[in-house]
Symmetry: C2
Subunit: 426 residues, 2 copies
């Protein structure tokens, strides 16, 4: 985005604000079109095939699938991003979704050794290390403990990682799609640790996966006892294979890599283990050559999902809904502001409820679009008092060596024809 | 369930209560088994294939599917219940689910002319009748109105209908599976009616579907303006075809038949229309030959989903989780009680949050099972003060001519070997 076009946008801001105050124009356009259609739209004056002929019966699809007209709503990878599909990423199509629940079929997935296919009858969870009793649980055993349901977002630490060095990827599926939010059903890890009896010097747990990568991460005991969940269901049904079937660990608000999938072992220890995924990976290399470690919490963040590069405005000027997502590893999102002019002026968006701690929040901003170019942004705030920073504010502190923990404000350039591009504003 | 076996159960109640007070026995059984397993379970001492070999990469399934080990978790019909699959029912597998969200793939479906397959680009919603302006909306038009997300249960008026005349169907999927609960995204119907301008004598709306049955139901204007939603998404993604893609009406807390799918027209009128589905069907024939009409609200109700006939206890005595669902068309469920002895003694279950109005509520009751037979029941109460009645209390008032609005207390007989059967208690 050049400085000149920014200035052109700014000049239009005043007249646009007057337009917004008038308010009615966009609505009038919509109503006029809808009234005109009522006069003789063939789509309503003629009887359609689906009204004329019987449809499919109930035995056709015991496990239902999306409409054929929604075949484009799928996870997508970025083939050049990783060397091999068994250690790669499939991004959530955020631009096509609404609300805060991600359907299981399109939840972001990231593997380090491919999806393990596990027979639940053969699966075990061991607790060992600094405990009074070593225990090995079957799936049946786990389902005898008190159970809870909680809505949590899961975000990869590398989400938006390519954007550290400027606008790289043209679509929120790719810039922000390493996140999903589902209802998890499981047993608080606390109950299992209590059953084993943690020794007084047990200050950390190591979570280990049963996949070919044997993913292992260190988690402080305080977090393990606070809200970690050994989950066996997502959105009501069994975990999907790519999400750790039959069980995964939930580490609410913390980076996705710690949510160990295909969980097979919890070891209790007195210090962190310094595994590969918490030393050479998932640490943040700073400009001075040192690295931030144990940067577990996912900071307050938001993104406009529509309009966005994959979801352009196709209806022309007038009433327009800006829709987006906000989240924070610190708890609840308390407010989201939206800018139409690249961050100069902000207006408060409508937060759709219920507001749940460490879950996605859906926001909307309804306005009349006069057809002039926009630079749309969203900025979230959380209950811990954090405000989402600009990318440049982040770069000034952290440099651009790391791919992790980019929670900077995202800018979309909406052109006069409704086409949307990923841009940077200075 | 004979009277004699009831008495045997009652005799056992006292000793069972003493057992429950002791509390530890079941836990000790579980811990002992888990400790024994730790000593040398081949499932953990040997390296499994999924730990030894790489799994599938991310490009394998852009729209993900459940694990092959969950192939039994599907909707099911009851072939003898209806004459033709295009006018039949596919029941939600409640016994296999948890939490309150029903995954889209297994949501109960009921059709009267089969599933209409509709191209959203060809679909229109008309508003006509007693309005200032007749309007016809495209899908694009609808998505320009302010949008909301709400979690609602949808229950067919005929859910549990076969049970009016005694225990008929062996499984909560079949006795209670005409219900689901999803997050709907849509536009309040109020906004569309305001756009058209309702005339002062407009007191009712007629909702009409575009399917081969052209389903039509009358709804009072007060309800239309209060909380009805024209929904285009469920659980974040587009409505499924069998749920009315591209749009359906949500009529929160009211019988599912009114939630017109493939919604194509809203007519405003000054009195109800007396369509087929609100006269010969979906009215409740009483013993005196008269019929209750306009019985829209779904009364407070609950069912234990596990253990249940399709989800027997397989782990033997000791710690056991009773899990179930409760809901009310009047708003929130405030309390659920559970009985282990056919309704003689009741204990309050744990309600899992958040509690959302006109949504399913999940409850749990954790107890130690001594292996003796049980008659398990659940009884829900709602914020309007209603208490779920027994089936016999209902029959005394309404007789057994109707198949609709049976919200009676369900009884499962848990046998000593963990097998569960649908029974009646007097």
């Amino acid at each position: 985005m050049s400085k000149q076009s920014r200035e052109n946008l700014d000049k239009k801001a005043a007249s646009r604000r007057r337009f917004l105050q008038a308010g009615i124009a966009g609505g009038a356009t919509l109503a006029a079109a809808a009234t005109a259609r009522a006069a003789g739209d063939p789509a309503i004056t003629e009887v359609q095939d689906w009204n004329r002929y019987l449809g499919d019966g109930v035995d056709a699809a015991p496990y239902g699938q999306p409409s054929e007209f929604e075949a484009h709503v799928v996870r997508r990878d970025v083939p050049w991003l990783t060397a091999d599909p068994v250690s790669s990423i499939n991004f959530t199509p955020l631009h096509d979704l609404d609300g805060i629940i991600t359907p299981n079929g399109v939840c972001f997935e990231r593997h380090h050794g491919g999806t393990a296919i596990i027979d639940p009858a053969e699966h075990r969870l061991m607790i060992n290390g600094l405990v009074d009793k070593q225990l090995v649980f079957t799936m049946d055993d786990l389902k005898r403990f008190p159970r809870e349901n909680r809505v949590y977002f899961l975000e990869c630490a590398a989400n938006s990682g390519m954007e550290w060095r400027g606008a790289q990827l043209n679509g929120c599926q790719f810039t922000h799609g390493m996140v999903h939010c589902v209802v998890y059903t499981g047993v608080p890890l606390k109950y299992l640790l209590e059953e084993a009896g943690v020794k007084t010097n047990g200050k950390w747990v190591l979570a280990e996966g049963a996949d070919a990568a044997a993913m292992t991460r260190s988690i402080p005991m305080e977090k393990a006892l606070e809200d970690c969940l050994v989950a066996f269901k997502m959105n009501g049904e069994a975990l999907r294979p790519e999400q750790g079937y039959p069980i995964r660990l939930c580490v609410p608000g913390w980076e996705g890599n710690m949510w160990v999938k295909w969980l097979r072992r919890i070891e209790v220890g007195d210090e962190p283990w310094a595994q590969r995924e918490e030393t050479s990976k998932y640490t943040d290399l700073l400009p001075d050559g040192t690295a931030r470690r144990h940067t577990w919490v996912m900071d307050v963040k938001s993104v406009i999902t529509s309009p966005s590069p994959q979801a352009p405005i196709t209806h022309g000027r007038g009433r327009t809904v800006i829709s987006g997502l906000a989240w924070s590893g610190n708890g609840k999102v308390t407010r989201v502001d939206v800018s139409l002019d690249g961050g100069r002026n902000w207006q408060t968006a409508r937060l759709d409820g219920p507001s749940l701690s460490k879950a996605l929040h859906r926001f909307y901003f309804d306005f009349d679009w006069d057809g002039s170019p926009l630079l749309i942004q969203s900025r979230a705030m959380d209950e811990a008092g954090f405000i989402q920073p600009t990318k440049n504010e982040l770069r000034a502190v952290r440099g651009t060596n790391s791919i992790y923990h980019n929670n900077g404000i995202q800018t979309w350039h909406v052109k006069g024809d409704g086409v949307v591009e990923n841009v940077e504003v200075s």
